[in-house]
Protein backbone atom coordinates (compact mmCIF):
# COMPACT_ATOMS: atom_id res chain seq x y z
CA UNK A 1 0.00 0.00 0.00
CA UNK A 2 2.78 2.36 1.01
CA UNK A 3 4.74 1.53 -2.12
CA UNK A 4 1.73 2.18 -4.28
CA UNK A 5 1.30 5.60 -2.73
CA UNK A 6 4.94 6.46 -3.26
CA UNK A 7 4.78 5.33 -6.89
CA UNK A 8 1.74 7.43 -7.48
CA UNK A 9 3.37 10.47 -5.99
CA UNK A 10 6.56 10.12 -8.05
CA UNK A 11 4.52 10.11 -11.25
CA UNK A 12 2.58 13.12 -10.01
CA UNK A 13 5.84 14.82 -9.16
CA UNK A 14 7.16 14.10 -12.63
CA UNK A 15 4.00 15.54 -14.13
CA UNK A 16 4.16 18.69 -12.04
CA UNK A 17 7.85 19.30 -12.45
CA UNK A 18 8.30 22.61 -14.22
CA UNK A 19 11.80 23.55 -15.18
CA UNK A 20 11.98 26.55 -17.46
CA UNK A 21 15.06 27.21 -19.50
CA UNK A 22 16.53 30.05 -21.43
CA UNK A 23 18.41 29.89 -24.67
CA UNK A 24 21.22 32.09 -25.91
CA UNK A 25 22.20 31.88 -29.56
CA UNK A 26 25.50 33.69 -29.96
CA UNK A 27 26.91 34.67 -33.34
CA UNK A 28 25.96 31.43 -35.02
CA UNK A 29 27.12 30.99 -38.62
CA UNK A 30 26.63 27.99 -40.84
CA UNK A 31 27.24 27.44 -44.53
CA UNK A 32 26.46 24.58 -46.86
CA UNK A 33 28.05 23.45 -50.05
CA UNK A 34 25.64 23.43 -52.95
CA UNK A 35 25.94 22.87 -56.68
CA UNK A 36 26.37 26.60 -57.22
CA UNK A 37 29.00 27.06 -54.54
CA UNK A 38 28.80 27.61 -50.78
CA UNK A 39 25.58 29.03 -49.37
CA UNK A 40 25.65 31.00 -46.15
CA UNK A 41 22.58 29.62 -44.41
CA UNK A 42 23.14 31.55 -41.20
CA UNK A 43 25.27 34.67 -40.87
CA UNK A 44 26.25 35.60 -37.30
CA UNK A 45 22.78 35.13 -35.89
CA UNK A 46 22.26 36.10 -32.28
CA UNK A 47 18.98 35.53 -30.51
CA UNK A 48 18.04 35.36 -26.87
CA UNK A 49 15.03 33.42 -25.75
CA UNK A 50 13.77 34.05 -22.24
CA UNK A 51 12.41 31.46 -19.86
CA UNK A 52 8.94 30.28 -20.84
CA UNK A 53 8.96 32.50 -23.90
CA UNK A 54 7.27 31.55 -27.17
CA UNK A 55 9.40 32.72 -30.09
CA UNK A 56 8.45 32.24 -33.72
CA UNK A 57 10.94 32.27 -36.58
CA UNK A 58 9.39 33.38 -39.84
CA UNK A 59 10.86 33.58 -43.32
CA UNK A 60 10.79 32.16 -46.80
CA UNK A 61 11.92 28.59 -47.46
CA UNK A 62 15.67 28.34 -47.46
CA UNK A 63 16.33 31.29 -45.14
CA UNK A 64 18.08 29.12 -42.59
CA UNK A 65 15.38 29.00 -39.92
CA UNK A 66 15.22 25.22 -39.88
CA UNK A 67 19.02 25.08 -39.80
CA UNK A 68 18.98 27.31 -36.74
CA UNK A 69 16.41 25.05 -35.09
CA UNK A 70 18.57 22.00 -35.80
CA UNK A 71 21.57 23.75 -34.31
CA UNK A 72 19.62 24.61 -31.16
CA UNK A 73 18.53 20.97 -31.01
CA UNK A 74 22.15 19.88 -31.30
CA UNK A 75 21.44 17.88 -34.46
CA UNK A 76 23.78 20.11 -36.46
CA UNK A 77 26.94 21.93 -35.46
CA UNK A 78 27.48 25.61 -36.25
CA UNK A 79 30.60 26.62 -38.19
CA UNK A 80 31.17 29.36 -35.64
CA UNK A 81 29.38 30.76 -32.65
CA UNK A 82 27.50 28.69 -30.13
CA UNK A 83 24.19 27.98 -28.50
CA UNK A 84 23.85 27.99 -24.75
CA UNK A 85 20.99 26.42 -22.91
CA UNK A 86 20.88 27.70 -19.34
CA UNK A 87 24.40 28.97 -19.79
CA UNK A 88 25.81 25.59 -20.83
CA UNK A 89 27.04 25.17 -24.41
CA UNK A 90 24.98 22.80 -26.52
CA UNK A 91 27.25 20.06 -27.87
CA UNK A 92 24.72 17.51 -29.08
CA UNK A 93 21.10 16.50 -28.94
CA UNK A 94 19.55 16.05 -25.54
CA UNK A 95 16.13 15.31 -24.21
CA UNK A 96 15.85 18.69 -22.48
CA UNK A 97 15.43 20.15 -25.98
CA UNK A 98 12.95 18.05 -27.92
CA UNK A 99 12.08 18.58 -31.55
CA UNK A 100 8.74 18.23 -33.25
CA UNK A 101 9.37 17.80 -36.96
CA UNK A 102 7.33 18.93 -39.93
CA UNK A 103 6.50 15.39 -40.95
CA UNK A 104 5.42 13.24 -38.05
CA UNK A 105 8.54 11.22 -37.32
CA UNK A 106 6.57 8.58 -35.46
CA UNK A 107 7.93 5.05 -35.37
CA UNK A 108 5.74 2.69 -37.41
CA UNK A 109 6.91 -0.40 -35.50
CA UNK A 110 5.34 0.92 -32.28
CA UNK A 111 1.72 1.70 -31.57
CA UNK A 112 0.59 5.13 -30.37
CA UNK A 113 1.32 4.34 -26.74
CA UNK A 114 4.71 2.86 -27.56
CA UNK A 115 5.66 6.01 -29.42
CA UNK A 116 4.78 8.28 -26.51
CA UNK A 117 6.60 5.92 -24.17
CA UNK A 118 9.78 5.86 -26.27
CA UNK A 119 11.35 9.04 -24.89
CA UNK A 120 10.14 8.30 -21.38
CA UNK A 121 11.90 4.94 -21.38
CA UNK A 122 15.16 6.80 -21.95
CA UNK A 123 14.54 8.96 -18.92
CA UNK A 124 16.16 7.54 -15.80
CA UNK A 125 14.77 7.62 -12.26
CA UNK A 126 11.25 6.67 -13.24
CA UNK A 127 9.55 3.35 -12.66
CA UNK A 128 7.81 1.74 -15.60
CA UNK A 129 4.51 2.36 -13.91
CA UNK A 130 5.33 6.06 -13.68
CA UNK A 131 6.27 6.11 -17.33
CA UNK A 132 3.02 4.54 -18.38
CA UNK A 133 1.09 6.94 -16.23
CA UNK A 134 2.90 9.95 -17.68
CA UNK A 135 2.37 8.67 -21.22
CA UNK A 136 -1.35 8.23 -20.56
CA UNK A 137 -1.54 11.74 -19.14
CA UNK A 138 -0.11 13.29 -22.30
CA UNK A 139 -2.20 11.16 -24.61
CA UNK A 140 -5.23 12.43 -22.76
CA UNK A 141 -3.90 15.97 -22.99
CA UNK A 142 -3.83 15.75 -26.79
CA UNK A 143 -7.20 14.00 -26.79
CA UNK A 144 -6.08 10.61 -28.06
CA UNK A 145 -6.65 8.34 -25.06
CA UNK A 146 -8.95 6.16 -27.08
CA UNK A 147 -6.23 5.53 -29.65
CA UNK A 148 -3.56 4.20 -27.29
CA UNK A 149 -3.21 0.96 -29.17
CA UNK A 150 -3.82 2.22 -32.68
CA UNK A 151 -1.16 1.70 -35.31
CA UNK A 152 0.46 4.84 -36.67
CA UNK A 153 -0.76 4.33 -40.24
CA UNK A 154 -4.34 4.26 -39.00
CA UNK A 155 -4.20 7.86 -37.80
CA UNK A 156 -5.06 10.99 -39.76
CA UNK A 157 -2.41 13.66 -40.34
CA UNK A 158 -3.73 15.77 -37.48
CA UNK A 159 -3.81 12.83 -35.09
CA UNK A 160 -0.26 11.92 -36.03
CA UNK A 161 0.92 15.41 -35.16
CA UNK A 162 -0.96 15.21 -31.88
CA UNK A 163 0.87 11.99 -31.06
CA UNK A 164 4.14 13.69 -32.04
CA UNK A 165 3.28 16.51 -29.67
CA UNK A 166 2.50 14.08 -26.85
CA UNK A 167 5.75 12.23 -27.56
CA UNK A 168 7.72 15.48 -27.48
CA UNK A 169 6.03 16.65 -24.27
CA UNK A 170 6.17 13.35 -22.37
CA UNK A 171 9.83 13.46 -21.26
CA UNK A 172 9.06 16.96 -19.94
CA UNK A 173 11.66 18.85 -21.98
CA UNK A 174 12.40 22.39 -20.91
CA UNK A 175 12.62 23.54 -24.49
CA UNK A 176 10.33 22.53 -27.32
CA UNK A 177 11.61 23.11 -30.84
CA UNK A 178 8.90 22.98 -33.46
CA UNK A 179 9.70 22.90 -37.17
CA UNK A 180 6.58 23.83 -39.14
CA UNK A 181 4.68 21.11 -37.29
CA UNK A 182 1.29 22.08 -38.63
CA UNK A 183 2.24 22.92 -42.22
CA UNK A 184 0.76 19.75 -43.70
CA UNK A 185 -2.55 19.92 -41.84
CA UNK A 186 -5.94 21.27 -42.88
CA UNK A 187 -7.05 24.64 -41.54
CA UNK A 188 -9.58 23.30 -39.04
CA UNK A 189 -7.18 20.83 -37.44
CA UNK A 190 -4.53 23.52 -37.30
CA UNK A 191 -6.81 25.94 -35.47
CA UNK A 192 -7.57 23.29 -32.88
CA UNK A 193 -3.89 22.65 -32.39
CA UNK A 194 -3.16 26.39 -32.01
CA UNK A 195 -5.52 26.33 -29.04
CA UNK A 196 -3.95 23.16 -27.65
CA UNK A 197 -0.39 24.31 -27.96
CA UNK A 198 -1.11 27.66 -26.27
CA UNK A 199 -2.82 25.86 -23.42
CA UNK A 200 0.02 23.40 -22.96
CA UNK A 201 2.63 26.12 -23.22
CA UNK A 202 0.89 28.14 -20.53
CA UNK A 203 0.23 25.21 -18.22
CA UNK A 204 3.71 23.67 -18.52
CA UNK A 205 5.67 26.91 -18.91
CA UNK A 206 7.76 25.57 -21.78
CA UNK A 207 10.25 27.60 -23.71
CA UNK A 208 9.19 27.20 -27.34
CA UNK A 209 10.99 28.05 -30.56
CA UNK A 210 8.56 27.64 -33.43
CA UNK A 211 9.57 27.75 -37.09
CA UNK A 212 6.93 28.60 -39.66
CA UNK A 213 6.45 30.34 -42.99
CA UNK A 214 2.89 31.21 -42.08
CA UNK A 215 2.84 34.78 -40.75
CA UNK A 216 -0.57 34.53 -39.17
CA UNK A 217 0.39 31.38 -37.36
CA UNK A 218 3.47 33.15 -36.00
CA UNK A 219 1.43 36.13 -34.81
CA UNK A 220 -1.09 33.82 -33.20
CA UNK A 221 1.45 31.80 -31.24
CA UNK A 222 4.50 33.94 -30.56
CA UNK A 223 5.36 36.42 -27.83
CA UNK A 224 7.95 37.54 -30.31
CA UNK A 225 8.22 36.95 -34.06
CA UNK A 226 11.66 37.04 -35.64
CA UNK A 227 11.70 37.72 -39.34
CA UNK A 228 14.51 35.94 -41.19
CA UNK A 229 15.97 37.15 -44.46
CA UNK A 230 17.64 34.69 -46.80
CA UNK A 231 21.07 34.65 -48.49
CA UNK A 232 22.63 35.10 -46.07
CA UNK A 233 20.26 34.01 -43.31
CA UNK A 234 19.90 36.80 -40.79
CA UNK A 235 17.38 38.09 -38.33
CA UNK A 236 15.91 40.98 -40.29
CA UNK A 237 13.40 42.37 -37.86
CA UNK A 238 11.76 41.58 -34.58
CA UNK A 239 8.09 41.99 -33.72
CA UNK A 240 6.57 41.84 -30.28
CA UNK A 241 3.04 40.49 -30.23
CA UNK A 242 1.45 41.52 -26.96
CA UNK A 243 -2.08 40.30 -27.45
CA UNK A 244 -3.91 38.55 -24.61
CA UNK A 245 -4.09 34.77 -24.67
CA UNK A 246 -5.52 32.46 -25.71
CA UNK A 247 -5.46 34.07 -29.12
CA UNK A 248 -7.85 33.33 -31.91
CA UNK A 249 -6.18 33.07 -35.29
CA UNK A 250 -9.16 34.84 -36.90
CA UNK A 251 -9.24 37.88 -34.63
CA UNK A 252 -8.92 41.38 -36.09
CA UNK A 253 -6.15 42.48 -33.71
CA UNK A 254 -4.12 39.50 -34.73
CA UNK A 255 -4.66 40.31 -38.38
CA UNK A 256 -3.17 43.75 -37.72
CA UNK A 257 0.02 42.24 -36.33
CA UNK A 258 0.16 39.72 -39.15
CA UNK A 259 -0.14 42.37 -41.83
CA UNK A 260 2.66 44.40 -40.19
CA UNK A 261 4.94 41.35 -40.41
CA UNK A 262 3.79 40.54 -43.92
CA UNK A 263 4.67 44.05 -45.06
CA UNK A 264 8.17 43.68 -43.67
CA UNK A 265 8.43 40.26 -45.29
CA UNK A 266 7.52 41.74 -48.67
CA UNK A 267 9.96 44.60 -48.26
CA UNK A 268 12.85 42.15 -48.00
CA UNK A 269 11.62 40.64 -51.24
CA UNK A 270 10.52 37.31 -49.88
CA UNK A 271 7.71 36.85 -52.30
CA UNK A 272 7.87 33.12 -51.86
CA UNK A 273 6.77 33.24 -48.25
CA UNK A 274 3.21 32.33 -47.58
CA UNK A 275 1.19 35.32 -46.51
CA UNK A 276 -1.57 34.79 -43.95
CA UNK A 277 -3.98 32.17 -45.17
Amino acid sequence: MLRAVRRLSSATEELQLIAPSKLAIENVSKSFRSASGPVLALDRVSVNVAEAEFVCLVGASGCGKTTLLNIIAGLEKPDSGMVRADGKPVTGPGRERLVMFQEPALFPWLDVFGNVLFGLKLKPNLTNRDRREVARYYLELVGLSRFEHANIHELSGGMKQRVSLARALAPNPRVLLMDEPFAALDALTREQLYGDIQEIWKARRKTIVFVTHNVREAACLGDRVLLFSPHPGRVQEEFVVNLPRPRDINSVDLAGHASRITKALKSVGQVGAVVAE
Binding site: G94, R97, F101, A105, P108, W109, N151
Partner: protein, 255 residues
Protein backbone atom coordinates in the same frame (compact mmCIF):
# COMPACT_ATOMS: atom_id res chain seq x y z
CA UNK B 1 -14.59 -21.21 -43.62
CA UNK B 2 -15.60 -20.83 -47.24
CA UNK B 3 -11.97 -20.34 -48.19
CA UNK B 4 -10.99 -23.48 -46.33
CA UNK B 5 -13.71 -25.43 -48.08
CA UNK B 6 -12.69 -24.22 -51.54
CA UNK B 7 -9.05 -24.97 -50.81
CA UNK B 8 -9.92 -28.51 -49.67
CA UNK B 9 -12.14 -29.09 -52.69
CA UNK B 10 -9.32 -27.97 -55.00
CA UNK B 11 -6.90 -30.51 -53.60
CA UNK B 12 -9.55 -33.23 -53.61
CA UNK B 13 -10.11 -32.63 -57.32
CA UNK B 14 -6.36 -32.77 -57.90
CA UNK B 15 -6.11 -36.17 -56.20
CA UNK B 16 -9.14 -37.44 -58.16
CA UNK B 17 -7.52 -36.34 -61.42
CA UNK B 18 -4.37 -38.18 -60.44
CA UNK B 19 -6.36 -41.31 -59.63
CA UNK B 20 -8.16 -40.98 -62.99
CA UNK B 21 -4.91 -40.74 -64.92
CA UNK B 22 -3.57 -43.75 -63.01
CA UNK B 23 -6.67 -45.79 -63.86
CA UNK B 24 -6.50 -44.82 -67.53
CA UNK B 25 -3.12 -46.62 -67.57
CA UNK B 26 -1.49 -44.03 -69.80
CA UNK B 27 1.81 -44.57 -68.04
CA UNK B 28 3.15 -47.71 -66.48
CA UNK B 29 2.18 -48.00 -62.77
CA UNK B 30 5.90 -48.21 -62.06
CA UNK B 31 6.25 -44.63 -63.25
CA UNK B 32 2.95 -43.36 -61.90
CA UNK B 33 1.66 -45.01 -58.73
CA UNK B 34 -1.84 -44.34 -57.48
CA UNK B 35 -2.56 -41.91 -54.64
CA UNK B 36 -3.46 -44.92 -52.55
CA UNK B 37 -0.05 -46.52 -53.06
CA UNK B 38 1.69 -43.30 -52.06
CA UNK B 39 -0.46 -43.03 -48.94
CA UNK B 40 0.30 -46.66 -48.08
CA UNK B 41 4.02 -46.01 -48.45
CA UNK B 42 3.77 -42.94 -46.21
CA UNK B 43 1.78 -44.93 -43.67
CA UNK B 44 4.33 -47.71 -43.53
CA UNK B 45 7.25 -45.27 -43.44
CA UNK B 46 5.54 -43.43 -40.62
CA UNK B 47 4.79 -46.69 -38.81
CA UNK B 48 8.36 -48.03 -38.86
CA UNK B 49 9.75 -44.64 -37.90
CA UNK B 50 11.91 -44.01 -40.96
CA UNK B 51 9.87 -40.99 -42.00
CA UNK B 52 9.97 -39.32 -38.60
CA UNK B 53 13.67 -40.04 -38.20
CA UNK B 54 14.51 -38.65 -41.63
CA UNK B 55 12.37 -35.57 -41.04
CA UNK B 56 14.00 -34.90 -37.69
CA UNK B 57 17.49 -35.28 -39.18
CA UNK B 58 16.71 -32.98 -42.08
CA UNK B 59 15.01 -30.37 -39.93
CA UNK B 60 17.87 -30.44 -37.44
CA UNK B 61 20.38 -29.73 -40.21
CA UNK B 62 18.17 -27.03 -41.63
CA UNK B 63 17.34 -25.26 -38.38
CA UNK B 64 20.87 -25.33 -36.98
CA UNK B 65 22.41 -24.18 -40.26
CA UNK B 66 19.74 -21.53 -40.67
CA UNK B 67 20.26 -20.18 -37.17
CA UNK B 68 24.03 -20.04 -37.70
CA UNK B 69 23.41 -18.20 -40.98
CA UNK B 70 21.12 -15.71 -39.23
CA UNK B 71 23.45 -15.16 -36.31
CA UNK B 72 26.31 -14.44 -38.69
CA UNK B 73 24.28 -12.60 -41.31
CA UNK B 74 22.54 -10.05 -39.08
CA UNK B 75 25.68 -8.55 -37.51
CA UNK B 76 27.56 -8.69 -40.81
CA UNK B 77 24.66 -6.88 -42.49
CA UNK B 78 24.73 -4.22 -39.78
CA UNK B 79 28.50 -3.82 -40.21
CA UNK B 80 28.22 -3.45 -43.98
CA UNK B 81 25.48 -0.85 -43.54
CA UNK B 82 27.46 1.08 -40.96
CA UNK B 83 31.01 1.13 -42.32
CA UNK B 84 32.15 1.74 -45.89
CA UNK B 85 35.06 -0.65 -45.42
CA UNK B 86 32.67 -3.55 -44.70
CA UNK B 87 30.32 -2.44 -47.44
CA UNK B 88 33.10 -2.48 -50.04
CA UNK B 89 34.45 -5.83 -48.89
CA UNK B 90 31.91 -8.13 -47.27
CA UNK B 91 29.01 -6.32 -48.90
CA UNK B 92 30.40 -6.86 -52.38
CA UNK B 93 31.31 -10.45 -51.58
CA UNK B 94 27.75 -11.10 -50.35
CA UNK B 95 26.25 -9.52 -53.44
CA UNK B 96 28.39 -11.73 -55.66
CA UNK B 97 27.90 -14.96 -53.76
CA UNK B 98 24.16 -14.41 -53.48
CA UNK B 99 23.92 -14.79 -57.25
CA UNK B 100 25.58 -18.19 -56.94
CA UNK B 101 22.88 -20.89 -56.72
CA UNK B 102 23.48 -22.41 -53.33
CA UNK B 103 23.57 -25.93 -54.80
CA UNK B 104 26.94 -24.94 -56.23
CA UNK B 105 28.37 -25.09 -52.71
CA UNK B 106 27.75 -28.84 -52.50
CA UNK B 107 30.84 -30.08 -54.42
CA UNK B 108 33.07 -27.70 -52.49
CA UNK B 109 31.54 -28.71 -49.17
CA UNK B 110 32.12 -32.39 -49.98
CA UNK B 111 35.77 -31.87 -50.80
CA UNK B 112 36.36 -29.73 -47.76
CA UNK B 113 34.39 -31.59 -45.15
CA UNK B 114 33.89 -35.04 -46.66
CA UNK B 115 30.66 -36.93 -46.12
CA UNK B 116 29.91 -35.37 -42.76
CA UNK B 117 27.28 -33.31 -40.99
CA UNK B 118 29.64 -30.36 -41.31
CA UNK B 119 29.27 -30.46 -45.09
CA UNK B 120 25.47 -30.34 -44.75
CA UNK B 121 25.61 -27.46 -42.29
CA UNK B 122 28.06 -25.58 -44.48
CA UNK B 123 25.71 -25.77 -47.46
CA UNK B 124 22.75 -24.57 -45.39
CA UNK B 125 24.74 -21.70 -43.88
CA UNK B 126 25.92 -20.60 -47.33
CA UNK B 127 22.33 -20.69 -48.54
CA UNK B 128 21.16 -18.47 -45.69
CA UNK B 129 24.02 -16.11 -45.01
CA UNK B 130 24.28 -13.94 -48.12
CA UNK B 131 20.58 -13.20 -48.42
CA UNK B 132 20.42 -12.18 -44.78
CA UNK B 133 23.49 -9.92 -45.07
CA UNK B 134 22.11 -8.15 -48.12
CA UNK B 135 18.59 -7.78 -46.74
CA UNK B 136 19.87 -6.41 -43.43
CA UNK B 137 22.11 -3.93 -45.16
CA UNK B 138 19.35 -2.79 -47.52
CA UNK B 139 16.93 -2.51 -44.63
CA UNK B 140 19.28 -0.39 -42.53
CA UNK B 141 20.12 1.85 -45.47
CA UNK B 142 16.42 2.43 -46.12
CA UNK B 143 15.64 3.61 -42.60
CA UNK B 144 14.38 7.19 -43.02
CA UNK B 145 16.96 9.55 -41.43
CA UNK B 146 14.17 11.36 -39.59
CA UNK B 147 13.72 8.33 -37.28
CA UNK B 148 17.35 8.61 -36.23
CA UNK B 149 17.07 12.34 -35.69
CA UNK B 150 13.88 12.02 -33.67
CA UNK B 151 15.43 9.27 -31.55
CA UNK B 152 18.62 11.31 -31.07
CA UNK B 153 16.71 14.24 -29.62
CA UNK B 154 14.99 11.86 -27.21
CA UNK B 155 18.36 10.72 -25.94
CA UNK B 156 18.80 7.47 -27.86
CA UNK B 157 22.31 6.60 -28.92
CA UNK B 158 24.66 3.78 -29.86
CA UNK B 159 23.31 0.37 -28.81
CA UNK B 160 19.89 1.73 -27.90
CA UNK B 161 19.71 3.40 -31.31
CA UNK B 162 20.65 0.13 -33.07
CA UNK B 163 18.33 -2.13 -31.14
CA UNK B 164 15.35 0.13 -30.55
CA UNK B 165 15.31 2.23 -33.70
CA UNK B 166 17.38 1.00 -36.63
CA UNK B 167 16.74 -2.73 -36.35
CA UNK B 168 12.98 -2.42 -35.85
CA UNK B 169 12.77 0.14 -38.64
CA UNK B 170 14.59 -2.26 -40.95
CA UNK B 171 12.47 -5.23 -39.87
CA UNK B 172 10.33 -5.53 -43.04
CA UNK B 173 13.47 -5.86 -45.16
CA UNK B 174 15.16 -8.20 -42.71
CA UNK B 175 12.15 -10.53 -42.57
CA UNK B 176 11.95 -10.78 -46.34
CA UNK B 177 15.67 -11.55 -46.37
CA UNK B 178 15.15 -14.22 -43.71
CA UNK B 179 12.42 -15.73 -45.85
CA UNK B 180 14.61 -15.79 -48.92
CA UNK B 181 17.48 -17.23 -46.88
CA UNK B 182 15.17 -19.96 -45.60
CA UNK B 183 14.07 -20.85 -49.13
CA UNK B 184 17.64 -20.98 -50.40
CA UNK B 185 18.78 -23.05 -47.43
CA UNK B 186 15.93 -25.54 -47.84
CA UNK B 187 16.65 -26.02 -51.56
CA UNK B 188 20.38 -26.42 -51.12
CA UNK B 189 19.96 -28.85 -48.25
CA UNK B 190 17.70 -31.07 -50.37
CA UNK B 191 20.23 -30.98 -53.19
CA UNK B 192 23.02 -31.85 -50.79
CA UNK B 193 21.08 -34.73 -49.27
CA UNK B 194 20.22 -36.17 -52.66
CA UNK B 195 23.83 -35.88 -53.76
CA UNK B 196 25.49 -37.26 -50.70
CA UNK B 197 25.05 -40.28 -48.53
CA UNK B 198 26.00 -39.45 -45.02
CA UNK B 199 26.41 -42.20 -42.54
CA UNK B 200 25.62 -39.98 -39.58
CA UNK B 201 22.04 -39.52 -40.64
CA UNK B 202 19.50 -40.36 -43.26
CA UNK B 203 17.53 -37.24 -44.25
CA UNK B 204 14.50 -36.76 -46.47
CA UNK B 205 16.71 -36.06 -49.48
CA UNK B 206 18.42 -39.37 -49.00
CA UNK B 207 15.08 -41.18 -48.75
CA UNK B 208 14.13 -39.51 -52.01
CA UNK B 209 17.39 -40.60 -53.58
CA UNK B 210 16.95 -44.23 -52.51
CA UNK B 211 13.41 -44.16 -53.83
CA UNK B 212 14.92 -43.48 -57.23
CA UNK B 213 17.63 -46.12 -56.82
CA UNK B 214 14.99 -48.70 -55.97
CA UNK B 215 12.61 -47.41 -58.65
CA UNK B 216 10.09 -47.02 -55.83
CA UNK B 217 8.05 -44.25 -57.35
CA UNK B 218 5.53 -44.19 -54.49
CA UNK B 219 8.46 -43.41 -52.19
CA UNK B 220 9.74 -40.64 -54.48
CA UNK B 221 6.34 -38.99 -54.72
CA UNK B 222 5.56 -39.58 -51.05
CA UNK B 223 8.77 -37.89 -49.91
CA UNK B 224 8.22 -35.04 -52.36
CA UNK B 225 4.82 -34.47 -50.77
CA UNK B 226 6.39 -34.46 -47.31
CA UNK B 227 8.95 -31.89 -48.46
CA UNK B 228 6.23 -29.67 -49.89
CA UNK B 229 4.19 -29.94 -46.69
CA UNK B 230 7.19 -28.98 -44.55
CA UNK B 231 7.80 -25.95 -46.76
CA UNK B 232 4.15 -24.93 -46.47
CA UNK B 233 4.12 -25.40 -42.70
CA UNK B 234 7.28 -23.33 -42.25
CA UNK B 235 5.62 -20.54 -44.14
CA UNK B 236 2.26 -20.79 -42.36
CA UNK B 237 3.59 -21.32 -38.85
CA UNK B 238 6.69 -19.18 -38.82
CA UNK B 239 6.74 -16.52 -41.52
CA UNK B 240 3.05 -15.76 -42.06
CA UNK B 241 2.37 -14.53 -38.51
CA UNK B 242 5.44 -12.26 -38.64
CA UNK B 243 4.43 -10.88 -42.01
CA UNK B 244 0.86 -10.35 -40.85
CA UNK B 245 2.15 -8.40 -37.87
CA UNK B 246 4.38 -6.27 -40.09
CA UNK B 247 1.56 -5.56 -42.53
CA UNK B 248 -0.77 -4.60 -39.73
CA UNK B 249 1.73 -2.32 -38.02
CA UNK B 250 3.13 -0.66 -41.12
CA UNK B 251 -0.20 -0.63 -42.93
CA UNK B 252 1.37 -2.11 -46.05
CA UNK B 253 -1.46 -4.48 -46.94
CA UNK B 254 -5.11 -5.18 -46.27
CA UNK B 255 -4.49 -8.83 -45.44
Amino acid sequence: MKRFFLSTAFFAVLVLLWEGVYRAKIWSPVLLPSPGQVVRYLESAAADGTLLKATVITMRRLVIGYLIGLLMGLPLGLLTARWKLFHDTIGTLALGLQTLPSVCWVPLALLWFGQTEAAMLFVVVMGTLWSVIIATETGVRNVPPIYRRAALTMGSKRLHMWFKVILPAALPFIVSGMKQGWAFAWRSLMAAEIFVTILTGFGLGQLLHYGRELSAMEQVIGIMIVIVVIGLLADKIFFSPIERFLHRRWGTSQA
